[in-house]
Subunit: 168 residues, 2 copies
DNA sequence: TATTGTTATACTCTATAACTATA
DNA sequence: TATAGTTATAGAGTATAACAATA
């Protein structure tokens, strides 16, 4: 652990009070996280929630959520992919991708085209309006990314991308 | 962007093929992420999923999930907190905390004690078995943390904690 | 009036299982 | 028999709203 002078450490023996049932108004800043401070998962989770909320808000006008954006981006860059290929690449359950594509197809952003060589599978393509829309989404997503940069700093964001490059 | 030679960059003009409906068997490693590569949120989300899965697996024998662990840890370090205080500190909806505490109380790990000074609120405490159990959970959580360290490296994990110190 | 805990609803996401039509 | 897409279900998690008891 490298973080120093954390809140938890200001509560070295928090259980001293034999308080039972008494009201204890806590200043939220005084509530120690104890062992959570040493867990990367805790901070990563809180950060991920912050990022997604900003993404959803920034792309709110076009009603696109992070998972929808990732699906559209991958189809746009790799037209003709099957649903299985997209699901595997993005770590989405194939059952869930069905509903995601239903929604994107209803919005006329994506088409499912029956494969001629393997009639079990669909080749996924963006529609022409889908291509246009995705370009707009990418512009807004870039704006969101600038919010991330403003939040944690330019260098920290770049380090983060390097550290997590294996999780893609 | 600092990540170099990414997969996306190996697909400079991916839409060249006017392929429509043809089968295209893709090697999963050949599917480019395009713009996703530049989004911190994408990597953070994939990493967070990996971490939670490892946590759930490592603490599977004691049937404790990340959120339950965070609630128990905060109550253990700050006995007497109200439900509102815990919910605010951890960013959990108070409505959801009700169910989490119902489960932890049924398992005799936590007690809700009526406050005498504010009869609307409950003071939260670990039971004696709860204290013992939490010590065991912390040992297993530390083991999980070593898995994280092994996955991304000791220095990277420490940098990550520093970068995300604000999200706690 | 405002707050604490509770109940309820809806929607997202994850994890399965089973079904169909193809291979 | 195995795979692609689909349908269905269950549980976690998020986001709300409304209610009773209490402040």
């Amino acid at each position: 652990m490298t973080t120093s002078a954390t809140r938890a450490e200001r509560h070295p023996s928090p259980r001293k009070r034999a308080d039972t049932g008494a009201a204890r108004p806590h200043d939220p800043d005084e509530i120690g996280l104890d062992a959570l401070v040493g867990h990367a998962g805790y901070a990563v989770r809180r950060f991920q929630i912050w990022i997604f909320q900003d993404f959803i808000k920034t792309l709110g006008a076009v009603d696109i959520r992070p998972t929808q954006y990732s699906v559209l981006t991958v189809i746009g860059a790799n037209p003709g992919l099957s649903q299985m290929a997209v699901a595997k690449r993005l770590g989405i359950e194939r059952a869930r991708l069905v509903h995601l594509l239903d929604s994107l197809e209803q919005r006329k952003l994506v088409r499912r085209i029956k494969s001629k060589t393997d009639r079990r599978s669909h080749a996924l393509h963006l529609t022409a309006p889908g291509e246009t829309a995705l370009a707009k989404f990418k512009t807004l997503a870039a704006e969101h990314e600038r919010h991330v940069e403003a939040k944690i700093g330019k260098e920290n964001r770049e380090r983060l991308l390097e550290i997590l490059a294996g999780f893609t």
